[in-house]
């Protein structure tokens, strides 16, 4: 799994941080930061959820 984010689209809802706190964070501006662009299989479900919950479609999750 590979995660890419578009912080221009990010609206800072924070849903990704709530879903997968070990994979996503918010920077000083409150915008999305990826802590782990290639998360371990144990994180895949919550990362998919984070991608789906993002109200601005700022998160793209690609399966390898």
């Amino acid at each position: 799994m590979r995660i890419t984010v578009d912080s221009d689209r990010c609206v800072g809802a924070g849903q990704c941080v709530l879903s997968a706190p070990d994979v996503f964070d918010q920077d000083e501006d409150g915008l999305v930061v990826v802590l782990d662009p290639r998360p371990a299989p144990g994180e895949h479900d919550v990362v998919q959820q984070a991608g789906d919950l993002c109200p601005a479609h700022a998160i793209t999750v690609n399966e390898d």
Binding site: G12, A13, G14, P21, Q49, L53, P55
Partner: protein, 392 residues
């Protein structure tokens, strides 16, 4: 695309005695395409009820949130607050890119980390309100004495309102949303007093900076002093009654389902289950756009119904059951798209603290009237309770 003219349904007002969300939402979801309805003013608009299509509407670039646009579905007055054309900074009614300048300036105030740092102050506020209720006897109206003051005091702290002004702020904000116990003139006066107060406060913060949202927002330089009033009034309106309704309805639901008391997951499920902001995300198409195989023409109003989407059986298993253990979290109680509630993490935190502290400190809490006699809000924009008589 449907060829025949679909049947127009009555505007979805809440009806006394009818459960919410109303059973007819289920029927609307089963219909092909969208559901035409008529606004109280006679204009025809589209209701959107399925989860996928509600999300599609709220993320479409061809659909606008700007109430100044021709065809926008105005459904109610603005509780005494001037419309946005008279109050700059009311950015919930702006589209991208104009909207984004305001949102971006505010995002840092509501991050998960920032809200976590507010927890001790929120807990103090909640505990003080519980102290006051306990000291006053063994019964209370949990709406007036608790559910409304909690978010008002939290917002006061956030904005840096001096403690000496908090009673003023709390009483005026309460008048503004108490449509049963206040007259239109009282609400109008309260709104004017609040606007004047906020205006003055911005002036004071500009001169004497503090450690608060107003000071930080002014320091960004991206929002003018004139726009600040609209921004702050919006934060107040958006964060006050919505939160109070979730607090009150959540407490009732927990009293009826005591097995979930103490379970943090009750917060998310309360948001979905009650969907207090069903009729809030109003939109108008700016170009012809297809939603769920149905053509919406430019200039037609669109009303995505959050409660209908949140009870869509294709998105949530057994949607009519209150089940905090469910794994689906994709409800649209906070909306979706760029306007999704900015304060959602603050609301979640307030609800979590409130449910926990209330039941920890008042374990014998119970309803003081039969549940079917609770005065539900059928007359405002938001769903909730006018009063919540409790005892212990």
């Amino acid at each position: 695309m449907t060829g025949t003219e679909p049947k127009t349904v009555p505007f979805p007002l809440r009806v006394p005695g009818e459960p919410f969300p109303p059973p007819r939402y289920e029927e609307y979801r089963r219909r092909e395409g969208l559901v035409p309805t008529q606004l109280p003013n006679g204009n025809r608009v589209w209701l959107v009820t399925r989860h996928t299509e509600v999300r599609a509407v709220l993320t479409s670039k061809k659909i606008s949130a700007n109430p100044d646009r021709e065809g926008f579905p105005h459904i109610s007055d603005t509780m005494g607050v001037p419309r946005q054309e008279q109050i700059p900074g009311w950015f919930v009614g702006l589209d991208s890119p104009e909207h984004d300048r305001f949102r971006k300036a505010l995002i840092p105030e509501f991050t998960v980390r920032r809200v976590r740092a507010m927890r001790p102050a929120i807990e103090r506020t909640v505990d003080e309100l519980i102290d006051t209720m306990l000291a006053a006897g063994n019964s209370a109206d949990l709406v007036a004495d608790f559910a409304l003051p909690v978010p008002s005091l939290v917002i006061s702290t956030l904005l840096g309102i001096p403690p000496v002004d908090r009673d003023f702020f709390e009483s005026r904000t309460r008048t503004l949303v108490s449509i049963r116990t206040s007259t239109e003139q009282q609400r109008d006066t309260a709104a004017k007093e609040l606007l004047r107060y906020i205006n003055r406060l911005v002036g004071i913060k500009a001169q004497w900076p503090g450690d608060d949202l107003i000071t930080r927002l002014l320091a960004t330089g991206s929002i003018s002093v004139q726009e600040m009033t609209g921004v702050l009034m919006l934060l107040l309106i958006a964060g006050h009654e919505t939160t109070a309704n979730n607090i009150a309805l959540g407490v009732v639901t927990l009293l009826l389902n005591p097995q979930w008391v103490g379970d943090q997951r009750a917060v998310e499920e309360t948001l979905r289950f009650h969907s207090v902001a069903d009729l809030v995300s109003l939109r108008v198409a700016v170009e012809d756009v297809e939603i769920g195989g149905h053509l919406i023409r430019a200039g037609e109003g669109v009303i995505p119904l959050a409660a209908a989407a949140n009870h869509d059986e294709s998105a949530f298993a057994c949607p009519h059951a209150f089940d905090p253990a469910r794994t689906e979290r994709h409800h649209v109680a906070f909306g979706y798209g760029v306007h999704q509630c900015l304060g959602q993490n603050l609301v979640r935190t307030e609800m979590e603290i409130v449910y926990r502290r209330l039941f920890e400190r008042i374990p014998t809490l119970e309803l003081a009237v039969p549940v079917e006699e609770l005065p539900l809000k059928y007359d405002g924009v938001l769903y909730g309770l006018h009063e919540l008589p409790v005892r212990w």
